[in-house]
Amino acid sequence: MEDLFGNISLGFSVALGFKNLGLCFLGCLIGTLIGVLPGVGPVATISMLLPITFGIDPIGALIMLAGIYYGAQYGGSTTAILVNIPGEATAVVTVLDGHQMARQGRAGVALGIAAMGSFIAGTAATLIIAALAVPLSRFALLFRPADYFALMVLGLMLAVALARGSVPKAIAMILVGILLSTIGRDLETGDERLTFGWSEIDDGIDFAVIAMGVFGFAEILRNLEAPEARDVVRQRIGSLLPGMADLKASAMPVLRGTGLGAFLGLLPGNGAVLAPFASYTIEKKLARDPSRFGKGAIEGVAGPEAANNAGAQTAFIPLLTLGIPPNAVMALMIGAMTIHNLVPGPEIITKRPHLFWGMIASMWIGNLMLLVINLPLVGLWVRLLQVPYRLLFPAIVLFCCIGIYSVNNNPLDVYLTAVFGLVGYLLIKLDFEPAPMLLGFVLGRLLEEKLRQALAISQGSLSTFIDHRIAAGMLALSLVIAVVAMLPSIRNRRDKAFAD
């Protein structure tokens, strides 16, 4: 316990430095600003703003990126309440009751309770991360290469099983991602792989190129085809402070949502997306009068908002302790760390305690800042929501171009991003989710490295994956998950075919 407090105070001494405080604030502000805009999710936001952090030291850069991430989450909720569309996927549920509250002239209360619920959830999640990080990373240090390989496979399978859409297609996307990661010179033997004699891609494809192509440009193309109807609230926003009755009604939903979100966020897949749905369902079940839900019930805002924020934050745990990203945003974080020459994983806590604890402390500070930024600036966000998409998307295109060019100061990267934009657009048309591809791409190299190490230790014998109990157990579990998750998608289709 004393260790924990010592670590946390070390963290605060880093995070409260003038520069880091400023970067945290800037990250939260920019993240909220872009998160508020509909059609620009956290993945696109982070990949777009990545170049801003290039010139900053690693600690500052990560603090700022984390700020951008949860700023985008907060901003998404604001849009959900004020406009009838979620600013991003995790705010889908908030739309249901949040927008109804806004129509009843209670937008301020909805925004207020969303911010407070998120803050409480964020505080709890930060404490959970601080408490779990050290034991988990110690455990991870016991892992041998074979176990690590199996853990990554298990993580990817869980991510697939918990994600939405067709399971075979999600697995295929992971495989394509891994395949993309093998492009370039082999690190051990120096052989060129899949470069088709094109020396420019000897070093492999930059993850930012893929991320911005399939999430930035392809998203724009998707949005252009589905013109949105924005329904910005015209009523007054009203008081931001919830009354006693509202607070009383929200207290338990916030606590339940926090617990639910913190747990689901730990799992691979997208806890921050899943958790609000789970929370909403539970609150509706527990409510004395479930018919109020969908008509502006405050519990339907408080619970899911807490759940989404807790989940968004505990998703950092697998990344920081095991070096395994549980979702696409965390995959981007790995990319960002690599750009700053940091290798995510259990060693970070012991080798770079300043960085690790500084980042944890900044998460809590960031949550506090968001509470302060979001509420007084609501008027600004409302005005921002009136910027039409026809102006928004060319600006996003420009931002992405500058960002991509700046990664290596190379115009070739910009061309490649355009190619991946086209690929992403076709993938959307073929009903593939691009997120698993990014996960596969980011984990691909680590998977290969661990596979090689494991087979080197066992002198080429595959039995090493069966002899090691941890590895064997995890691989068996992955197989079971894959089969169980895949069965319905095959069976349902057949039933439907027979019914036709």
Binding site: P51, F54, G55, R164, G165, S166, P168, K169, A172, L175, V176, L179, T182, E188, T189, R193, L194, F217, I220, L221, L224, Y389, R390, L391, F393, P394, A395, V397, L398, F399, C400, C401, I402, Y405, S406, N409, P411, V414, Y415, T417, A418, G421, Y425, L426, K429, L430, D431, F432, G444, L447, E448, L451, R452, L455, A456, Q459, G460, I490, R493, A497
Partner: protein, 161 residues
């Protein structure tokens, strides 16, 4: 979420999405496998450079075949129309940016890319977008070139950097 939404009923025209998706994966896997043919699976007793790409290509082919079969068993969703206007202008704008950033600099590449991209939307308004493109470019130059000091060319012909 998507799986709970009923699929659109198969229309008379168009190709089954899953059939195309499966074929796409099979082609991709075949291409990757052929490109890796020369890479050794084993290298002096250790894992060679060919193992991972070849194994993953085979797995990809397997799932491609599975998705193809699923698509053939029940046609499922169709590919809805592929728009040309969006991809041409948005991706065209990106390509123009890539081509002009080094020789002409951000001062020209920036507004040019924005104006071309804006044409992707049918509701584009000429004067509005020109003014907005220049304002945004000035903002970006201030932010990226001066505030963040990124080494991005500004106007090489005019300023020399």
């Amino acid at each position: 979420m998507q799986s709970t939404v009923p699929r659109t009923s198969p229309g008379p025209r168009g190709v089954s999405r899953d059939v195309v998706a499966g074929l796409f994966l099979l082609l991709l896997a075949a291409g990757a496998f052929v490109a890796c043919l020369d890479l050794a699976i084993e290298d002096a007793g250790a894992v060679g450079p060919g193992l991972m790409p070849k194994a993953v290509a085979l797995l990809t082919a397997g799932f491609g075949a599975l998705i193809l079969v699923i698509g053939l068993m029940s046609p499922g969703g169709r590919i809805d129309g592929i728009a040309l206007r969006g991809p041409i202008f948005v991706l065209g704008a990106v390509a123009v940016f890539a081509a002009t950033i080094r020789p002409l600099g951000l001062a020209i590449a920036g507004p040019l890319a924005m104006i071309i991209a804006a044409c992707a939307d049918e509701g584009v308004r000429t004067v509005e977008i020109i003014v907005f493109a220049f304002l945004m470019s000035v903002l970006c130059i201030g932010l990226f070139k001066y505030l963040l000091q990124l080494p991005i060319p500004l106007a090489p012909l005019l300023l020399g950097y």
